[in-house]
Subunit: 367 residues, 2 copies
């Protein structure tokens, strides 16, 4: 298995590189002072440094459950399993479903495809349309696989969002075929207009809903979770415990402390959405102005702008632009062989506006 | 696969339980104030909250490499891969060697046997003698498996330590059979007399040396590592990246900061060894006085006292004592079927002396 292109690029980035590649949040928005205050409180008690339980610390699971319930998706602490980022949630699930087939979107999240391959899951990739996966081939595939992995909100890489109608059809199909849905929602809180309803809420006994604080608070915390019925979570706990005993509990306590002090998390999220909406606007405008041949839709949330440079081999373009210290991820990476050759995923949350304009101008020059 | 006995016991423990079961450090010795100072420094810079590299942050890898080199085992940062505790190191390695056979000690570490089983490694268990694994059957097994997992220092569960002679013979056998050694050293720094030489240092190109800060600093940090040649580490990095992108980097930075400020870690270790040596003494004396039928050797380091209650079914004993809120791990757990039925592992680092005496008296009453 080859190392992922994205991770290799991330590691070759210098402070001078303008990166549109990784799914990096804007570090100027990390609430580091509030987390510092929480760390101070938590580290005044040495018992927070001891071994902990495999499912995650109870007060944090309660907090996460309360967030779901507050959105109308009734959830208890026992429905939450804390993981080391949602990447580990994908690993856990794909170990549990090892050797099975799984219906995924085309294109899809690189990290998911990587861990599925490592755990010998056979992916059946169905074209993702503007309003969600293509229903007929999806239903046919699901009948066979009985397992699907979808990213309905501000999808990675495309930034697309499922329509309410498609969400309902998908829930019905999962039910009909006695199937299981893995719904990945790392960007769900980063909406610029309104929150979308989770498909999982329509089929709570047939779904895992994956969440993460990496995009909304800070990636270094490595705290994600799986929301599922207790029956679905139970076998995962055996894997989790064997994999690393439990997720970093110092960070879990810091996060719990942060979430439980006033409304600072809600305020932070509001600010984050506003800021990222502005960045999306600036990025879109720069693309229209300096790279007019790029065809794209504006995402309604998340971190990515996806589109096409008709007739351009974007894998070649990135090799050229890397020499001029501008990077992005060519679309082909998110498909199997031979597709998306003229497509590009841009991350708009990390670079500042000045760097965005400079980077896009460099890309235009490379063309 | 059943959930591990130890984890189930850990989760059933109440504040009133006297636990000799888990491998828990004494939380009174956690340097929480120093870690708080480090957390304060690290969280003043938001860039410490961003995504990081899969191998672990460079300054921490440099610190760990320097510790090895300072002990005469020459090591560079590129020889270190940071993991989420050494349990994850075992997962990484057993994924890499999936479906292979592996020569292990009998008895051995429960968490290793669990993850080996989960990753379909077939274990060949060779009797552990007082000075290390039994050489002849070990050599025969190794010829077939070409892979071995050993815990030479203050072994879990037995507390035994390999003689220098056996270490040399094992290194020679690994070399002879073109085999690979996985040497687990979570207790190696907890010596009461003198540091033992790592077998890995004798065969640096044929070994993984596993370390952890869970026993020496604090388990909640979930920071372990693998020390190996770059050639051996490279394929593991692909797994690590797919498993969780990278280990909690906030904690990595805090740890780096802690390790790089003066000699506080060296001072802490000295204090820890002194304190645990005292606890071993108190525990041994209580056993001799209140449970005289318990036959055991005094360990020269680590966290466990292991021995036998001749003729007693210790799995039955723990069921009885659990009702009186005293727990330990019955020896049979560390073997396959039908062995170690009258054996017990006691953890002596966590309970205080008063609780130790009270707990041992309760066990004596149960008999």
């Amino acid at each position: 298995m080859k190392r992922s292109f994205i991770r290799e690029i991330l590691e070759s980035i210098t402070p001078e590189t303008i990166s549109f590649a990784g799914g990096l949040p804007d570090e100027h928005l990390f609430p580091h002072e509030a987390l510092r205050t929480s760390a101070n409180r938590i580290l005044s008690d040495p018992s927070h440094l001891q071994y902990s339980t495999s499912s995650g610390i109870l007060p944090l699971r309660e907090q996460i459950a309360a967030i779901y319930s507050g959105q109308g998706f009734e959830t208890h602490a026992d429905n939450i399993l804390i993981t080391s980022g949602s990447q580990q949630a994908l690993d856990l699930l794909s170990r549990h479903y090892r050797d099975r087939s799984i219906t995924i979107e085309s294109p899809s999240y690189l990290g998911a495809m990587g861990i599925f391959a490592l755990n010998h899951l056979h992916t059946d990739a169905i074209t993702l349309e503007h309003d969600g996966i293509t229903i007929n081939p999806f239903a046919q595939s699901l009948e066979r696989t009985q397992l699907t992995y979808l990213i309905p909100d501000y999808q990675n890489p495309t930034g697309r969002t499922y329509s309410l109608e498609k969400r309902k059809v998908i829930a019905a199909q999962v039910q009909k075929h006695n199937a299981i849905l893995i719904e990945d929602g790392p960007y769900s809180d980063l909406f610029f207009e309104s929150r979308q309803p989770a498909i999982s809420a329509m089929i709570p006994d047939r779904s895992y809903h994956l969440g993460s604080f990496s995009k909304t608070l800070a990636p270094a915390l490595r705290i994600g979770w799986i929301r599922a019925s207790e029956a679905l979570l139970r076998p995962l706990l055996i894997h989790k415990e064997a994999m690393d005993l439990h997720t970093n509990s110092l960070t879990q306590y810091i996060l719990f402390d942060y979430l439980s002090h006033g409304d600072q998390y809600a305020t932070h999220l509001k600010n984050l959405r506003k800021h990222y909406a502005k960045k999306r606007k600036a990025f879109s405008e720069a693309l229209t102005k300096y790279l007019p041949s790029f065809v794209f839709e504006k995402p309604k949330g998340g971190m990515f702008i996806y589109g096409r440079l008709p007739g351009v081999d974007t894998a070649e373009l990135v090799k050229m632009s890397l020499k001029k210290r501008v990077v992005f991820v060519p679309g082909n990476e998110f498909y199997g062989e031979g597709r998306g050759m003229d497509e590009i995923r841009f991350n708009f949350t990390h670079p500042n506006t000045e760097a965005t304009i400079r980077g896009i101008k460099i890309l235009a020059n490379c063309l």
